[in-house]
Symmetry: C2
Subunit: 227 residues, 2 copies
């Protein structure tokens, strides 16, 4: 990337960088403080080298799409950003190369995040909810339900997971919202860590590499209302 | 500049920025830690909006030229950077809008920086000096001489000035050099603050606005040797 060598991944490392804040600092950027700086920097260079008319990004990495759209807008880059929708399995699980690490048992429960986000979306779209409490409350009920369900099973059957975050954020800054302005809409997103199974059963398919912890992300856009 | 409002000039302020370090942090950037971040950011946006074939910058703001050339190189910007040489008065003083604040007395001594840099250049070019000590020593002798000269005059005649820095730096990173690699060359630069006169004489031209302190900068490129 750099003629003068690799710049390092620390916040204070020297180099030529594009930073887009605050959007790059929250959610997925919180635990990886230079991740979106890296994304913006390499994309700026790539766009400059290739001079494309259109660039394509996947909806699944929603924060990345917001960072790129903000960079294109703020620097007036002459490029159109096209977002491809998230591909899903029949039960709704977002396709991801990581899914192969889940194994059958965890694969069955891995839809918890999408189901939680979908309930929150339903609260917004069908039930007219606008507050964070109402919208994320619907998601939390799904999570609690699945946790209780799994908690009632024995260790050889149950699946444990940890919710990293479920967020309701502004579509341009990704700052958390207390109330959704229906003219702007919002972004529902979340991350869930599927923990390794406790007691593998005889011959159980644990997924690739023995079924390590798998962190899954997903999101649903709350589209603004038509004017 | 920003659709979402003015981002502020603090290091931690939120916004979309291009930072070019370490070159933006040293010398002129030391006392103004977000100055070159601002320069790089607005130039990136301007280049993107205008899509120019060539951009022109003045040699006098040498650190700015190094920041821009580094940005163009690191981000592969499709633009040619042209540096216009510093225009000078007959006695060598670099032309600057600030010179009108000097008044006649200080104007006569204001060449001290250029003379110091020129002596350092002569040590490099004609006397074959390569070490920081030899090269900057030549500049310091000029400064000392002028200081002694002025110190011998009475307050109604003398001029006081303070050397902010005289630097011998790498042409691409602007990091201070101990030894000049003649294949790379270097940048001699400096900043001098001309202090207000102590005792104005009857009817003396003190310069615009009563002759405030005036900070002057200048530089000379030590060109690499021909191969």
């Amino acid at each position: 990337m750099y003629p003068s060598g690799f710049p390092g991944q620390e916040v204070g490392s020297k180099g030529s960088f594009v930073s887009i804040t605050p959007v790059g600092e929250v959610l997925e950027g919180r635990s990886r403080p230079t991740f979106f700086r890296g994304v913006a920097t390499v994309c700026m260079k790539l766009f400059s080298a290739v001079q494309p008319e259109r660039v394509y990004f996947g909806q699944k990495d929603v924060q990345q799409t917001v960072v790129i759209k903000k960079m294109v807008k703020d620097f007036l880059l002459p490029v159109e950003v096209v977002i491809g929708k998230t591909e899903r399995a029949d039960d709704g699980l977002a396709l991801s190369s990581r899914n192969v690490y889940l194994g059958e048992r965890r694969r069955g429960v891995a839809t918890v995040l999408f189901r939680a986000l979908s309930e929150a979306e339903r609260a917004y779209k069908s039930a007219g909810a606008r507050t964070r409490k109402e919208i994320l409350g619907a998601a939390e009920r799904v999570v609690k339900e699945v946790e209780q369900e799994q908690g009632g099973l024995e260790p050889g059957r149950r699946v444990r997971f940890e919710v990293d975050y479920i967020s309701l954020a502004d579509p341009e800054t990704m700052e958390e919202l207390e109330v959704v302005d229906a003219k702007r809409g919002g972004i529902l997103s979340g991350a869930v860590k599927m923990l390794p199974v406790e007691e593998p059963r005889e011959g159980e398919d644990l997924g690739h590499s023995g079924g390590p912890a798998v962190r899954l992300i997903d999101n649903i856009i709350l589209e603004p209302e038509e004017a």
